[in-house]
C-alpha cells in the first residue's frame, strides 16, 4: 500500500480536511433528516470514506469530470456540487439538482463537471469511457474519474470499460473504493484477488492500492494517475482500502449483522478526519475555524432546502425528451 510522502503543502491538506468535514456534516445532516422523515427516498451515506472523495477531487481541474455511485454524496461535494440544491434534491424539492426526480442516488451537477451518480452498479464505467473518448477527441487535456466499489469490480461493465480505455488510451481514472462489503457480501468472498488494483494488469494499465483513510495518500496516487491520463497514456486503476462507518443503508446497523464490533472499532480508530488532524497537528483553534465555516454552509443549505417548494404535478411529465 502506498503511503503519502510529505511534499504536500499544509494549505492543500487543510483544503482537503475542509472538504472531508463538509462531506461528513452534510451526510450526518442527511441521515438525521432521513430519520426525521424529511428525505424522499433512500440515502446511502459514505461516512468513513471521505478521504477518497477529497483526495481524488483535489487532484482534478474544474473542467474534469467525475461519475459516481449510489453512495455518491462525498464525491459530489468534493467536486464542487452545490450543497443547497443537493440537499433540496434529497428533500424532494423542485429546486433540487434533478428537480426532485433523481433523488440521492442520481445527484448530478453537470455545471461542475459532475456527470451523475449512477445507481445501477457498474453502469458508470462505460459512460466514463465515453466521456473520456469525448475529451480525447476535444484535445483539451480533460480527464474523467469514475468511482466504484469492490462489488462493481466484479461486474462485466468494469472489465469492458477498462479494456476500451486501454486500447484507445482514454483519459480515465478508475477509482475503486474497497469498503470491504457489497451490501453484506465481503470482498474476500466475492473477489478473486486480495488487492483489486492488480486487475489493472489484465489491461496493461498502472494499478495501485492506497490507504483510503489517509487523504494525503489518496491525493498523491490520484495526482499521478490524473497526470498519466492527461499525458495521453490511458487509464489507471487505484484501489483505496476503506470502510463505511454506517450500514449499507438505513436497513442495516453499523455492526452486528455482517460486520463485527471489533472490526468496526478497528476502522473507526482510523477515521480519516482524525488521521488528517494528526498529520497536520491541528490546533483546537484551527479545528474550530473549519467547523464554523462548514456549519455556516450546512445552515445555508438547510435554509434553502427547507424553504424550497415541492414540485408542481406538471414536473412529472417534463424533461423526458429534449
Amino acid at each position: 500500500m502506498a503511503r503519502a510522502t510529505s511534499r504536500l503543502t499544509r494549505k492543500r491538506m487543510h483544503e482537503m480536511y475542509r472538504a472531508m468535514l463538509r462531506i461528513r456534516r452534510f451526510e450526518e445532516t442527511a441521515d438525521d433528516f432521513y430519520m426525521a422523515g424529511k428525505v424522499v427516498g433512500g440515502v446511502h451515506v459514505s461516512i468513513g470514506q471521505e478521504a477518497c472523495s477529497a483526495g481524488v477531487c483535489a487532484a482534478l481541474r474544474e473542467d474534469d469530470a467525475v461519475l459516481t455511485t449510489h453512495r455518491g454524496h462525498g464525491h459530489s461535494i468534493a467536486k464542487g456540487t452545490r450543497l443547497p440544491e443537493m440537499l433540496a434534491e434529497l428533500m424532494g424539492k423542485v429546486t433540487g439538482l434533478c428537480r426532485s426526480k433523481g433523488g440521492s442516488m442520481h445527484i448530478a451537477d453537470v455545471s461542475k463537471g459532475h456527470y451523475g451518480a449512477h445507481s445501477i452498479v457498474g453502469a458508470n464505467m462505460p459512460m466514463a469511457a465515453g466521456i473520456g473518448l469525448a475529451y480525447q477527441l476535444e484535445g483539451k487535456g480533460q480527464v474523467a474519474v469514475v468511482f466504484f466499489g469492490d462489488g462493481a469490480s466484479n461486474n462485466g461493465a468494469f472489465h469492458e470499460a477498462m479494456n476500451l480505455c486501454a486500447i484507445w488510451k482514454l483519459p480515465v481514472v478508475f477509482f475503486c473504493e474497497n469498503n470491504q462489503y457489497a451490501v453484506s457480501v465481503p470482498a474476500e468472498y466475492s473477489t478473486s484477488v486480495d488487492d483489486i488494483s492488480v486487475r489493472s494488469k489484465g489491461y496493461d494499465a498502472p494499478g495501485l492500492t492506497v490507504d483510503g483513510m489517509d487523504v494525503a495518500a489518496v491525493y498523491e496516487a490520484s495526482q499521478e494517475a490524473v497526470a498519466h491520463a492527461r499525458r495521453g497514456l490511458g487509464p489507471s486503476l487505484i484501489e483505496a482500502k476503506t470502510y463505511r462507518f454506517f450500514g449499507h443503508s438505513r436497513g442495516d446497523p453499523h455492526y452486528g449483522m455482517y460486520r463485527t464490533k471489533e472490526e468496526w472499532e478497528g476502522w473507526k480508530e482510523r477515521d480519516p478526519l482524525i488521521v488528517c488532524e494528526k498529520m497536520l497537528k491541528m490546533t483546537a483553534k484551527q479545528k474550530k475555524a473549519h467547523a464554523e465555516a462548514v456549519e455556516a454552509e450546512i445552515k445555508e443549505a438547510i435554509e434553502f432546502a427547507e424553504n424550497s417548494p415541492e414540485p408542481e404535478e406538471s414536473v412529472a411529465l417534463e424533461d423526458i425528451f429534449a
Partner: protein, 328 residues
C-alpha cells in the same frame, strides 16, 4: 412547388448516404461498432472509413455493454454517436446503457443533460440464421419512455428518418430490416429528411387498412396488389415510428375503411401490433366493423431450416389470407 428530382437507390444505399451526409454536415457525428471500419462488411457503412478516417468510423471490440455505455457518455459530453449494433439480437448485451441510462438520464438528472445517440439495429429473419440472429425486438423498446423507436420500410424513409434521427437531441433506436437492404426505391435528391412521429399512407384504398411495420409494410404492399386482383381495395399505412406512434394517422385510415389488419415480423404476444390495436380501438372503436386482425411471427423461436422458418415468420400470403378471413 418545384418538382423534386428522384433517384432510385437501395435501402442500404439510402442508409449509407444518410451517414455520409450527416457526418459531412456535423463533425460531432461519429460511427462506432463491430467491423464498421471495413467497407466490405456492410453496404450500409461502405466507404465511410475511407472518407472520414478511423477516429470517426471506429471499430470496437466485441463489447456491446462497454461501447454502448461509452456512446451514452460521449453523447452526454457533446458528441452525436451513431452505433452500429450489427444485429438487434446483440443489443440484449447492451440493454442497461440504453434502457436504464440513455433513455432516463435527461429525466433523472432534471434536464441537465441530453443524449443525442442513434443506435442502428439491423434485424429480422428469412436468412436461415436461427433463433438468436433473426429476431425483431422493437416491441421491447416501446416500453422504455425517453427512447425514440424508428422502423423505416423503404429507401426514402430510411434515408430521411436516419438523417432526422442523427439531428434529434434524444436517444433513438433506428431499426433496419435486413430483408429490405436490397430493396430499391425512389429517394428525393438533396437534403432529404422525414419527420419523426408521422405515419405515411403507402397505398391508398377504401376497403381495408393494412398497417405494416418495417419489413411487413413491404409485404402489405405486395398483399394489397394480390387483394386488388380479388377485387379488394386495400390501403397500406406505415407508422414509420413507433415511439412516438402516430395513432391519429393510423386511426384516420381505419375510420375510412372500417377494417384493420396489423402485420409485424416480431412475435405476436406483447408485440407492436398489440399496442397499435389497443390504441386504435381507443381512438376509433366505433368505426371498426370487425375485430382487428394481427399477423406476426409465431410465439416460438425462429428456426434455421427454410421450411420451418417460413412456418414461423409472417409473409405476404399470410397477410392475404388473414385479410380475406377478416373481410368474410
Amino acid at each position: 412547388m418545384p418538382e423534386t428530382k428522384m433517384r432510385t437507390i437501395s435501402y442500404a444505399q439510402a442508409i449509407n448516404e444518410a451517414l455520409h451526409e450527416e457526418m459531412e454536415r456535423d463533425e460531432k457525428v461519429f460511427l462506432m461498432g463491430e467491423d464498421v471500419a471495413l467497407s466490405a462488411i456492410s453496404p450500409a457503412t461502405a466507404g465511410l472509413g475511407e472518407r472520414f478516417g478511423h477516429e470517426r468510423v471506429r471499430n470496437t471490440p466485441i463489447s456491446e455493454l462497454g461501447f454502448t455505455g461509452a456512446a451514452v457518455g460521449a453523447a452526454m459530453a457533446g458528441y452525436r454517436p451513431v452505433l452500429d449494433m450489427r444485429r438487434i439480437d446483440f443489443m440484449m448485451l447492451a440493454i442497461d446503457p440504453i434502457a436504464n441510462q440513455a433513455a432516463k438520464l435527461r429525466y433523472m438528472l432534471g434536464g441537465q443533460v441530453s443524449v443525442p445517440l442513434v443506435v442502428r439495429a439491423p434485424e429480422g429473419g428469412g436468412s436461415q440464421n436461427g433463433p438468436t440472429h433473426s429476431q425483431c425486438l422493437e416491441a421491447w423498446f416501446i416500453q422504455v419512455p425517453g427512447l425514440r423507436v424508428i422502423v423505416p420500410s423503404d429507401p426514402a424513409d430510411a434515408k430521411g428518418l436516419l438523417k432526422s434521427a442523427i439531428r434529434e437531441d434524444n436517444p433513438v433506436l433506428f431499426v433496419e430490416y435486413r430483408a429490405l437492404y436490397s430493396l430499391e426505391g425512389p429517394v428525393p435528391d438533396g437534403d432529404h429528411t422525414e419527420p419523426i412521429g408521422k405515419a405515411a399512407v403507402k397505398r391508398e384504398g377504401a376497403d381495408i387498412t393494412l398497417i405494416g411495420i418495417g419489413s411487413q409494410a413491404r409485404n402489405c404492399l405486395e398483399a394489397a396488389e394480390l387483394l386488388a386482383g380479388e377485387g379488394v381495395d386495400a390501403e397500406v399505412v406505415d407508422p414509420r415510428t413507433i415511439n412516438p406512434l402516430d395513432i391519429e394517422g393510423l386511426a384516420a385510415s381505419v375510420r375510412k375503411t372500417g377494417f384493420c389488419l396489423i402485420a409485424e415480423e416480431g412475435h405476436k404476444s406483447g408485440g407492436v401490433g398489440a399496442e397499435i390495436a389497443a390504441s386504435i380501438q381507443e381512438a376509433a372503436f366505433g368505426a371498426l366493423e370487425a375485430p382487428i386482425a394481427r399477423v406476426a411471427a409465431l410465439d416460438v423461436p425462429v428456426p434455421v431450416h427454410t421450411k420451418l422458418e417460413a412456418i414461423v415468420l409472417p409473409s405476404t400470403e399470410k397477410i392475404v389470407a388473414a385479410a380475406n378471413n377478416l373481410l368474410s
